[in-house]
């Protein structure tokens, strides 16, 4: 399940809703991303998240479907905010539930790694020096690459 919204979310309420009445779930893993007050050594006053309505939902749904294909999940949820956020604000939530904790951990990490490189969001940071578009990070590309499948899964592998 995925949601794209301007409003804040409540991680506890989302975790509870995902697991309520479910006794087949052994473990629930959540990741909550929070706006930091520093970008390198520059103090951040605020951040605005631009996104591409329609494509965002489509890309998140595809990433969520891929996680559910790869791991035996009982439930999964991605919530991503857009609009103006302040340091300390929640920005993204990923929740995964599975009978086995390894699957829940792997799927949660996969979801946040992949959405960081695939979901069409762009951060505009406001510092004392002005507003700057955040640059994509090599770290994030490396993190996403961890989850690339071996050649057998690639569509063109048979050629």
């Amino acid at each position: 399940m995925i949601r794209v919204q301007r409003e804040d979310f409540d991680p506890g309420a989302e975790i509870a809703a995902l697991t309520r009445g479910r006794a087949d779930i052994g473990g629930v893993v959540s990741f909550t991303g929070i706006v930091r007050d520093l970008a390198g050594d520059r103090k951040i006053g605020a951040m605005t998240l631009e996104h591409y309505p329609g494509m965002t939902e489509k890309q998140l749904a595809e990433i969520d479907a891929e996680a559910n294909r790869r791991w035996p999940l009982a439930a999964s949820l991605v919530v991503h905010r857009y609009g103006k956020l302040l340091p300390g604000d929640r920005i993204v939530l990923v929740v995964t539930a599975s009978p086995h904790r390894d699957a829940a951990f792997d799927a949660c990490r996969f979801l946040i790694d992949w959405l960081k490189t695939r979901a069409p969001f762009w951060k505009l940071e406001e510092t004392e020096a002005g507003a700057d578009w955040v640059k994509a990070q090599a770290d994030d590309n490396a993190a996403a690459a961890r989850w690339e499948k071996p050649a057998s899964k690639r569509p063109r592998a048979a050629e």
Partner: protein, 83 residues
Amino acid sequence: MKVLYFAWLRTRVGHAEDAIDLPKNVTDVRGLIEVLRAKGPNYATALKDLNTVRVAVNHDYVKLDHSLKPTDEVALFPPVTGG
């Protein structure tokens, strides 16, 4: 054809959206980008380095050799930075 710009591509171009009539000899994304670059220095600057430009057609990522139809929604934007 609807062409959308996001983030610094939008600010460099100066607006969020164009309606482009694709010349008959232009059939793919690479050709569309050449057409846009010729529209003015704002476009030429925004689209100078294609290493920093991502392309989506109808909400899916595509490469520069992707074929275009007049009804496509094309989006040009920098590498994403959400999460």
